[in-house]
Symmetry: C2
Subunit: 207 residues, 2 copies
């Protein structure tokens, strides 16, 4: 084993308990928000974290619309399930997590190791669509955890009409909405009781 | 604002630089592994972190097969793209990230606030399939970041034949494979040069 490998072997990184609490164990989905804005600088920092997490062939298909103005929110409201309207109106920012259905156009820049990556996706609609949806969704998950790492709270939502959002925000049809995430600083007094999770034995097998 | 809310408002949590490095900025996709096993206790800890991150209506559809034995790896190998064989054979664990296509059976326990959730999904195949794939994928993303939070390195892969994996590991058809993640302690000497990411202005809009 090389010296570098040996050092790595001996390094036992583990995120601190406060970080594990904030990202996973203690974090909750929020629906009510403290009156504290989310600055554009925070949104840029958020993207600069999440962009590094992995996607297939570095395809990075996620696209994000940060809806923060009153006008933007009102464009979104007609597409929302009734139960999602108030929490979305009151959130400092609602992110439309979308993906670029023509993400392959960026592949020559994003994945130089495979010069045929653009053509691979351009010539196979099923692969292109699955890659965009799967990896755009992964990046939406990275967004949620990166937001929590920056002290933000999240309220992800699938309860809306994707076609209406697409018609309103992506009329040229290239980007497609996936899910929404309210962002802000949550008011813990507005939390619902936490729902249970499945046991390891129900979810996991070791073979 | 209540006293609790005020305290929350004034709390500025932010993960430390070392955690941000380990989870996002400095973390890399690994393909070569140090000779250090991943104990079952670590896999259990990993699940106990990732299970808390959010899914739609707490549906929690992801299912995980931790393939760690030589026999298990050899069952996986015939389904892999040629370029993924060696790194999968040498990884201490390869996770099959799958989802339960009948996840709705658990909804009465997972989401007591809506007693009709099981029937909602049982009666709408398109919604059920989209929910399983989207949220199973999100949970796969949480798995990757939770693993990094525990000091593990990841090598996620889509380059394999899902139908072959399903036939071999899920012959009853209820669980479906989504993607694979090699897990272990990576050897940084085996890293490829890092590929670039898109700029904020290419990916994000603020409205």
């Amino acid at each position: 084993m090389s010296q570098t490998a040996l050092q790595e072997y001996e390094t036992d990184f583990r995120a601190g308990d406060e970080a594990l609490e904030a990202l996973f164990v203690g974090a909750r989905t929020h629906t009510t928000w403290l009156p504290r804005p989310v600055d554009e600088s925070v949104l840029r920092e958020l993207y600069d974290l999440m962009k590094w997490a992995p996607t297939s062939m570095n395809s990075s298909p996620a696209r994000l619309v940060f809806v923060s103005s009153t006008e933007g929110k009102e464009r979104l409201v007609p597409a929302l399930s009734p139960g999602n309207v108030d929490k979305t109106r009151s959130a400092p920012v609602t992110v439309i997590v979308a993906h670029d259905t023509a993400f392959q156009e960026y592949m020559p820049r994003l994945f130089p190791p495979n010069p045929n990556a653009r053509e691979l996706f351009a010539g196979n609609d099923a692969l292109r669509e699955a890659t965009a949806f799967r990896n755009g969704t992964l990046q939406g998950g990275y967004l949620i955890l990166a937001a929590r790492a920056l002290g933000l709270d999240c309220g992800p939502m699938s309860g809306f009409d994707n076609a209406k959002v697409d018609a309103e925000f992506f009329p040229d049809g290239r980007w497609k909405s996936n899910f929404l995430v309210n962002l802000g600083y949550g008011d813990r007094e507005g939390l619902f009781p936490r729902n249970p999770r499945l046991d390891f034995e129900e979810v996991c097998r070791i073979v």
